[in-house]
């Protein structure tokens, strides 16, 4: 067991806690078998670490680094990266270009630190030249990014890690478990009590991205998650305020500018955490239409606005 993994007993369950992908992570196992809980938590931790190492844009020794430094040359990617690129491409199409993994370069001109440093239109236009999935040549397994382009899988990685960890645990055990990586969740099945896992959905402005399990009083509301994934988009601290206009951190890749009237946060429940994450992101990008969009998707959801 890695020293960074802490196993704690809970109310009729065991939990494993570790840190990964810049978030507090926990795995709750509905069992009284401590050894089993340790083993499963370890598997989840390893998988989260593997995915972080492989897809983090802060490292210089992984496929993302090689892709972002390929200087316009074609690069052959492995099966897992190819699957994620196929998925990102699918999301790009169904969102008509609003979900775009090449749009990370916009952070060069937009820094959402609560200040008033809104970029000039010319700056935004210049960085717009360096994004656009339609300009990427993706023919599995070869990816060719134009020079100056970058991809960032941060928008799907954490939810993907949740689902991948869940798959690995489900292959090892029949017991019910809940995976929570910084607020992105997955529950495998109802607990022994036939109840689901009680999830607290909190208001933005309180502690960020950590669902308080089994402490309903601190949350805006609870719900019972028997099976499926939960993901949340939005964080109130990231914005710019200038001349009385609040610019949310949800950027529209097609214009380079923030989406107008984006909600403070959107939480979605879906079959998997990855799907929930995409739906919550797409909803945020809808701005005023977030609620209408989610209403049409037949998923349990919460939209919080100022």
């Amino acid at each position: 067991m890695a020293p960074s993994l802490h196993i704690k007993p809970g109310n009729n369950f065991w939990s494993g806690h570790f840190h990964a992908m810049a978030s507090p992570c926990e795995v709750l196992i509905d069992t009284n078998d401590q050894a089993l809980a340790e083993r499963l938590a370890c598997i989840a931790q390893n998988e989260a670490a593997r995915i972080e190492k492989k897809f983090s844009r802060y490292r210089d020794d992984n496929i993302i680094y090689r892709i972002n430094h390929s200087a316009g040359r074609p690069l052959e990617v492995d099966a897992e990266t190819a699957a994620l690129l196929d998925y990102a491409e699918h999301c790009y199409r169904i969102s008509n270009g609003m979900f775009d993994i090449t749009s990370g370069v916009l952070r060069r001109v937009w820094q959402f630190d609560g200040g008033d440093n809104v970029p000039q239109p010319a700056q935004v236009a210049a960085v717009q030249e360096l994004l656009g999935w339609h300009r990427v040549d993706w023919q599995r397994p070869l990816l060719t990014l134009p020079e100056g382009f970058e991809i960032d899988l941060g928008g799907i990685c954490k939810e993907y890690a949740v689902d991948r960890s869940a798959m690995l645990l489900a292959a090892q055990t029949d017991v019910s478990f809940l995976i929570n990586y910084g607020g992105d969740l997955y529950a495998s099945k109802p607990r022994r009590s036939s109840q689901g896992w009680i999830i607290g959905v909190e208001r933005p402005g309180q502690s960020t991205r950590h669902a308080d399990i089994n402490q309903p009083s601190a949350a805006a509301g609870n719900f019972e998650l028997c099976r499926g994934g939960v993901a949340t988009s939005g964080d109130a601290r990231r914005f710019l305020l200038k001349d009385g206009i609040r610019y949310s951190h949800i950027l529209n890749p097609l214009t380079g500018w923030p989406v107008r009237n984006a909600p403070r946060s959107v939480t979605v429940v879906a079959n998997t955490c990855t799907e929930a994450g995409i739906l919550s992101t797409l909803a945020m990008l809808q701005g005023t239409e977030a609620e209408a969009f989610l209403a049409g998707q037949n998923v349990q959801h919460w939209v919080l606005r100022d």
Partner: protein, 417 residues
């Protein structure tokens, strides 16, 4: 974003896409994985006009066993039949030779290049290779091979290291391989430059049942990305062979005088090559991609201490037809200067220390033209066929061995699972 009209289909296709994403990949070491096997299978048919023909099925399987780590196994079966030139020259009368076993003879008609018809052999070769990242930007490829036919066994191992520099724009490669071969010819190893009996009454002088040779090869290479669409490779290889390097089945004709084709009293001598060979080659290749098509051009310059030098020019153009189909025409031109000890025939009384009449060591040129057609049958499989014609011609003035024409047909099927 106009999602409102398509709201329901978004969720539907998203659910399916997510299921595909999560179902398609498995981390290494955890349960069944998809697409970590790559299988290549092919059958090649080679036929020389009136001489040797061969069928060669090949199967290669490559498995991903870790991050950038692969194991490859390859099995080749070569089945050859037909006749091969024995090194003797055509004369105005019929000629009789003994087969390698010494138990039988074969006769060649007048004015016909003698061919030994007992060329019938099956060779099986297996090799395995392990490719593994050793450190950041450094990978190693380690291989072993074994090849067996009824009169020849070869065992070898190799190690190659490849370093990436310069944001992987430059790769430096170095490799070493070692092979140990044993030849156990039918009828034993003939004593070089002694007589080949022309009847079964006499047996050839033999120096033993079998003999060995060792082959060492060293490779140094650089691959450099030149531009967005261009790549070049430069290799230098050094090789050294030691041991029994002679072909035990080949002979030379001995004539009475330089100007005639009248055979001497001892008309045929077994060939004898030196027992060491130092080889060098310099190789340059360029690959360039156009919009979709790719051109591949290479040049190789070879020289050794047997006096052979050669130039090889090879060009291929991959022409994308669209829809996953492609055509690849191929042209190759090979030019060789003979070995110092190559002789078309020997003159009685003037027998050198080393001599061979194997036309493949002589002054020659080979021209090859070919066409390959390939198609992507699915995301995970590809099929291709190719046909090539080769013409090998002896060069130089004076009497030479006749041209050899050959053709190659090959079908290939590759898939991932």
């Amino acid at each position: 974003m106009q999602l409102n009209n398509k709201s329901k289909p978004v969720r539907h296709s998203l659910t399916l896409a997510t299921a595909t994403l999560l179902g398609s990949v498995s981390a290494p070491g955890y349960g069944a994985a998809s697409n970590d096997w790559e299988i290549d299978s092919s059958v090649l048919y080679y036929a020389e006009d009136g001489r040797v023909s061969a069928i060669e099925p090949v199967v290669r399987a490559r498995k991903t066993i870790g991050d950038d780590e692969f194991l490859t196994f390859r099995l080749v079966v070569d089945s050859l039949t037909g006749s091969s030139a024995n090194g003797a020259i055509a004369t105005t009368a019929a000629q009789t030779f003994t087969k390698p076993s010494g138990d039988a003879t074969y006769t060649t008609a007048a004015n016909t290049t003698p061919l030994d018809p007992s060329f019938h052999d099956t060779r099986v070769a297996v090799n395995g290779e392990w490719e593994k990242p050793l450190q950041d930007n450094l990978k190693g490829i380690f291989g072993a091979n074994l090849s067996k036919e009824y009169d020849y066994t070869s065992l070898g191992a190799s190690a190659t290291l490849a370093w990436d520099f310069n944001s992987r724009n430059t790769t430096f490669t170095t490799g070493l391989s070692l092979n140990l071969d044993t030849v156990k010819p039918v009828g034993g190893i003939p004593d070089g430059l002694t007589a080949m009996p022309t009847t079964t009454t006499f047996t050839k002088a033999s120096v033993g049942d079998s003999d060995n040779k060792t082959v060492v090869d060293v490779l140094l290479g650089i691959t450099q990305v030149i531009g967005r669409k261009t790549l070049m490779q430069f290799n230098y290889t050094y090789g050294q062979d030691d041991g029994y390097l002679t072909d035990p089945y080949k002979i030379l004709s001995v004539v009475t005088d330089a100007g005639t084709a009248t055979l001497a009293a001892t008309p045929y001598l077994y060939e004898q090559r030196p027992d060491s060979r130092v080889r060098n080659a310099f190789y340059w290749k360029t690959v360039h991609q156009f919009e979709q098509d790719v051109v591949n051009f290479s040049y190789r310059y070879y020289w050794d201490d047997w006096g052979i030098t050669s130039h090889t020019f090879d060009a291929r153009y991959r022409y994308e037809l669209g829809g996953g189909h492609y055509l690849m025409p191929h042209a190759r031109y090979y030019l060789q200067d003979k070995a110092d000890f190559y002789h078309y025939k020997l003159v009685d009384g003037d027998i050198p220390r080393y001599a061979s009449a194997d036309y493949r060591l002589g002054d020659l040129s080979t021209t090859t033209l070919g066409l390959k057609y390939g198609v992507e049958l699915s995301e995970n499989s590809e099929f291709s066929v190719r046909a090539e014609i080769m013409k090998q011609q002896s060069r130089g003035s004076g009497a030479t061995f006749p041209d050899v024409d050959a053709m190659i047909l090959q079908a290939n099927y590759s898939f991932l699972f």
